[in-house]
Amino acid sequence: MYNEIVMAGFGGQGVLLIGKLLAYAGMKAGREVTWMPSYGPEMRGGTCNCTVVLSDRPIGSPISKRPHGLVVLNLPSLDKFEDAVRPGGVIVVNTSLINRLPRRSDVAVVPVAANEVAMEVGTGKAANMVALGAFLGAAGLVDVAAVSTVLEETFAARPKLVGINKEALRRGFEIGQEHAAVAAAG
């Protein structure tokens, strides 16, 4: 088992956070993990990304030039990373803010209106959790319940946020699972 996942969006959308949750849950499941942020001279509203590697063996490079999975929350991120994804990989696209689908036909595409779903749950700020849930639903990799537990620990100091974020994660997970089921049925 070896998986590289890139998560990208605007600064402030919480892509670093969902990457951390994924890495943390992977670690708790006994996997080797790395989490590497982009740390260029960037600002809120600029582009931002992180790479998570999950593996059964010690991890070499924590940087990915050919990720297996991609979660994009805005259009510049899709433009930047779409071509890099390995054939057979998974791309989760936030259709709330991205007005096109990936051109690739050799990857599994999971469109999810992350902001709208998050608004239904209670706040558009949880769009990142919807996208993470959708990725887990489609790609498996890490048990969604484990991510949910890590989320509780991460937000321990702000218990009000736990419920909304867990619900956003769950809703995203269902969308991802449905998509995977439809794709499997051909």
């Binding site: 670690m27 942020p37 260029g40 070499g60 490079s61």
Partner: protein
Amino acid sequence: MAKKLMKGCEAIGEAAVQAGCRLFFGYPITPQNEIPEYMSARMPMVGGTFVQAESEVAASNMLYGAAGAGCRVFTSSSSPGISLMMEGLSYIAGAELPVVIINIMRGGPGLGGILPSQSDYFQATKGGGHGDYRALVLAPSTVQEAADLVQDAFDLADRYRNPVLVLGDGLIGQMMEPVEFKRSVKPEELPEKPWATTGCAGRKPNVINSLFLDPEKLEAHNWALHAKYLEMAKKEKRHETYQVDDGCDVLVVAYGTVARITKTAIDQAKERGLRLGLFRPITLFPYPSEALWAAAEKSKAVLVSELSTGQMVEDVRAVVAGRRPVGFYGRVGGMVMGPDELLDEAEKLLRTGA
């Protein structure tokens, strides 16, 4: 202690605390600001002191004073800031004081950039400041190793009464990996330092000094320092090898971040029918020369890869001494090579013989 997911910079800070260090003096600079940030919160919890100095020059002289008083003390900075600390570091080496310095390297020269680089190898391993001295230099390639080596760095600094430099880059500093702290020591458990200036009531005064106006005394001092570096070379060399035991087509020599990328390349090399191995120096000074040759001897060629235009390659060439072709591949300016680039370079080296 259970494993925690931590950034390299945070793990370095916690490792210093677990090593019984209670003093941090520094000045902010990207990409290592998480170290002073962590220390500013953590030191008050353990009765320690965090000082944001007015400059790196001041911080390095605070180190000098605290180490002279017998305290475990450390600082962290990144390349331009480390250059500013070099005056203090030279005095510290001259006065034979134990300090730990973390350099999370960034691209240069001058202000350069903030992305990963290994362009301070010469400065780190060949002295750095003025005068004929050396710092012991440790180069971690994982967050766990960064934590372990920082703890070791304090012990080594005390053992040799010498500055120990931990050399990382933005990738090691910014990356999160699982880490656990295997040892924990409190300041009061550390061995006494009978040479320290702790107040001389009831004993002869101790003197901390790097000024020797009598040339015969200075010569003796210089040779004594030299003897210390030779002892380090005898006892402290460290390295890691990966996939070299049965010999290889190309032995890649790399440290820190580049060694990680090399491991990925080695795993991919088999698909191309290429046998690659890695030699990773963990001490950059003293350099693990004998072990390097033992690995190089079993290889057809040697490829040195660094995030510089070629610094460590000089030490490798001195060891290999023309007995194998030595090639070089570097990326600079904050650009980091991918595993495929290393594979291409290794194939090219085999075709052309360097």
